[in-house]
């Protein structure tokens, strides 16, 4: 399904790795009160949740799939070859497909969950955002296999290798568009529920690679804000931003915190619910 039946409400889930699971808390609240989403957009970690929702899985099924997709096994095996390549580029031929972690486990998990499913099998229109590695432009993926699009969208630089889809080499959507509200705006959606996360940057910098991560984190954040500031002014209707609070740090590998993260997502959505319902009531009556 590609064309939205209605243009009332879009759910946009931005980058934020494990924190993106908060979107499941948001989904829980929407389901509970019977609010339907007409369009789903995901970027980076948010893509995983947007996809499971778009396929029509129940909240509990989504939670279970998340646990299957995102666990320590995917980041356990460090890609020794890549690491060596970085140290001695002349000896081992280096190219741009450098990634610190071996992606076999991750691909295996993705394929186990999504198989060969394509975008046409979603019950809610879905758009996933990645970045063209060579030009830096955002790339919206809305056709082909879900595994390909997901693998591309979550290719965090230096964590996983860039991923080729068609003619383009793609990386993390966060490098160009961490919270792709514009995709929903472009599809003419009235109300946009944007679930976004600011990236707290790590403080202890003890190595050059940590420095690089910190820098990327800071720039993703700045891009997130700049894009949001612009999209905000550019939209004719309403963007409701759901920004869950996390009292503790939730890093890339804290998958055990998922239940907590989901709960925070629920709280954040509960706070916006009265306003959302009033707005939907307004649209209904007009």
């Amino acid at each position: 399904m590609n064309q939205p039946q209605n243009n009332r409400l879009a759910l946009v889930i931005g980058s934020g790795a494990v924190k993106c699971a908060a979107a499941l808390g948001v989904w829980k609240v929407l389901n509970r009160v019977g609010i339907e989403v007409d369009l789903l957009v995901g970027c980076s970690g948010g893509s995983l949740f947007a996809t499971t929702m778009a396929l029509g899985y129940s909240v509990d099924e989504c939670i279970e799939l998340t646990q299957r997709l995102w666990n320590r096994s995917i980041t356990r095996k460090r890609d020794t070859r890549s690491f060596l390549k970085a140290l001695l580029p002349q000896v081992f031929k280096f190219d741009e497909r450098f990634g610190m972690f071996d992606d076999h486990a991750m691909l295996k998990n993705l394929r186990a969950v999504f198989g060969e499913s394509t975008f046409t099998e979603t019950v809610v229109p879905l758009y996933l955002v990645a970045t063209d590695f060579h030009t830096g432009e955002p790339v919206v993926l809305d056709r082909g296999t879900l595994v390909d699009a997901l693998r591309a969208s979550i290719s965090v630089p230096f964590i996983w290798r860039p991923w080729r889809v068609g003619e383009r080499l793609l990386i993390d959507g966060a490098v160009s568009n961490p919270l792709p509200v514009d995709v929903a705006i472009r599809e003419g959606v009235e109300l946009i529920l944007a679930v976004g996360f600011e990236t707290p940057a790590p403080r202890r910098i003890k190595s050059i690679s940590r420095f690089v991560f910190h820098l990327n984190s800071v720039m993703t954040n700045n891009l997130y804000r700049a894009n949001f500031a612009f999209h905000n002014l550019a939209h004719h209707a309403e963007i409701i931003t759901v920004m869950p609070d996390f009292t503790q740090q939730v890093t890339l590998f804290d998958t055990y915190l998922i239940p907590y993260v989901i709960q925070q997502g629920e709280h954040a959505m509960e706070q916006q619910l009265p306003y959302l319902q009033r707005l939907l009531g307004e649209i209904h009556s007009s």
């Binding site: 970085a86 140290l87 580029p89 280096f94 190219d95 741009e96 450098f98 970045t131 060579h134 030009t135 830096g136 630089p157 490098v175 160009s176 940057a201 403080r203 910098i205 003890k206 190595s207 050059i208 420095f211 690089v212 910190h214 820098l215 990327n216 800071v218 720039m219 993703t220 954040n221 700045n222 891009l223 700049a226 894009n227 500031a229 612009f230 002014l233 550019a234």
Partner: protein
Amino acid sequence: MEMNPLEAGTGRKKVALVIGSGGAKCAAALGLWQVLQEEGIQISMAVGSSGGSIYAAAISLGFDLHTTEELTLSLWTRDLMEGYATNLRRAMTGEARFNESSGLIDDGPLTERLRQAFGAASFNDARIPLYIVSTDFYTGESVVHDDGPVLDALRASIAIPMIIPPWQVGDRLLVDGAVSDPLPVDVAIKEGAQVILAMGFELPIRKRMRSYTAVTTHLNSLYMNNILKSTFAFHNLAHHAEVVLLLPELDPAIGAFSAEQFPTVIAEGARSAREQLPYLRRLLSTQPVD
């Protein structure tokens, strides 16, 4: 002879000059400056980020063209990158310590050249109000400098991450303005400018990457170009009057350049300014608002 309407009377429009990041290419702003002087267009403020801050400072402190040329040629030289390859290898193997205050080149010569050019100049010495933007290393937020020693603000603003060590000013560790605000039109907007002349440069994109730093530099460029586009899009919508964007066409490969190339860079800056001149004259000659 017809009197230049800009010199006539009170209530002229507040014009801001904003020079964005672009390394040595920012010298093209001097060409723009020349054109403004020829036309008698007075600017009310100069704002700079990263490489652009050097020219914003030179212009507002009243440096003449020759001095600024010498400054440019002494600053962006190839020997600046000495030690880079060795330092990188040592940092990656863990042989050498690398923390938040580190950079892959020795910043001694660079800081010294800045000191020689700007000495003890402070923001108060500026003939035209000057604003320089850098970035807080920890929070990523932009920091606007408008007082104290100009040298500190410049050294912070040009601190290209990973390459040039961040700079401590007071209790803040600061880096390249381009990480948060590569073309700080917002500063001009906030300070009440009506017409904003913004000269910006996109970072060159590499085609082939053969090393870790090539990939890192490439990714930084992608991020910074995207931040440039997005912040500009926002600032553009947020301004009530006009932002005139100048994008000089210079060979993207210009990193450092030689004395022979300097006139070409200035000329291109002047050309891109002259292209907008008819529009600029019309913008500035309409009845100014008090």
